[in-house]
């Protein structure tokens, strides 16, 4: 089973984590001003890259903290993990 490095607890088994989708999707500044199509874009549409992808993960069976990870979608390698609020590190794919 793959080990995922929690930024607080260190490497832990994949089964301790939950996936939270794409990271850095900002809540709209003024949601009421959005058209239905813009709202649908915000709620439902996500990137689907082949390569490095910044994602949210939760260490749900451990420290229960959300953090961000850059994962290569082609290899499932976790290239970098970083705590919530920290900027996405530069990654070379």
């Amino acid at each position: 089973m793959q080990l995922i490095p929690c930024p607080w607890c260190g490497p832990r088994e994949e089964a301790e984590f939950h996936y939270g989708g794409q990271a850095h999707v900002a809540y709209p500044e003024d949601p009421s001003a959005l058209s239905d199509e813009e709202w649908a874009q915000y709620v439902f549409f996500r990137e689907n890259p082949s390569g490095p992808f910044a994602e949210r993960w939760s260490h749900s069976a451990g420290c229960r903290r959300w953090f961000n990870a850059v994962r290569d979608t082609r290899t499932h390698d976790l290239i970098a993990v970083y705590r919530a609020g920290e900027p996405m590190p530069e990654v070379i794919s």
């Binding site: 607080w8 088994e13 301790e16 069976a61 903290r65």
Partner: protein, 188 residues
Amino acid sequence: MTVSPLFAWTDRLAALPVNASERPFLSQLTVRASDPAAIAAMGAVLGVGFPAVPCTFTAGSGEFGDVEVLWLGPDEFLVVAAPDLQIPIEEALRGALGSARGSVVDTSAQRTTVVLEGPHVRDVLAHGCSVDLHPSAAPAGTCVQTLLARTGVILLVTGADSVTLLVRSSVAEYLAAWLSDACVEYQT
């Protein structure tokens, strides 16, 4: 009479090669706080400094006797003390927290505690726990929240051959049954 979650397992746990025994009804308080001054003040009230390093715990004694403070997250701790102290400790911690942002909640009923001792403890746990429990990776003072046989536990390494498990009361009997099974090959 109040019956503890593992009362029915007392004799079976004691007969295991890991000498398992329940420590029921410990006082447990979940503390959420991030202000360093408030955390220091709460440590002073207990006579035990709060752990500053993730995945560790601290132990000491003071006004409330022997107390352990467990790191559960960057702003979350579990204070563990002898039974029937949750109300005075809650009041003392709330006083020390003062107006700083945070909370102190009595969670004593959530978990029971099982102490394991003996040379086979790490081997038995390794059957159901993926965390590296070798003494070089998990020395005394280690506190990890992880899955043991798919059960969420807090695992404290208290000495070379001793581990304390905190497990939710409702699944404690499942964990006791799993422990009994995992111990079979170490029976003499």
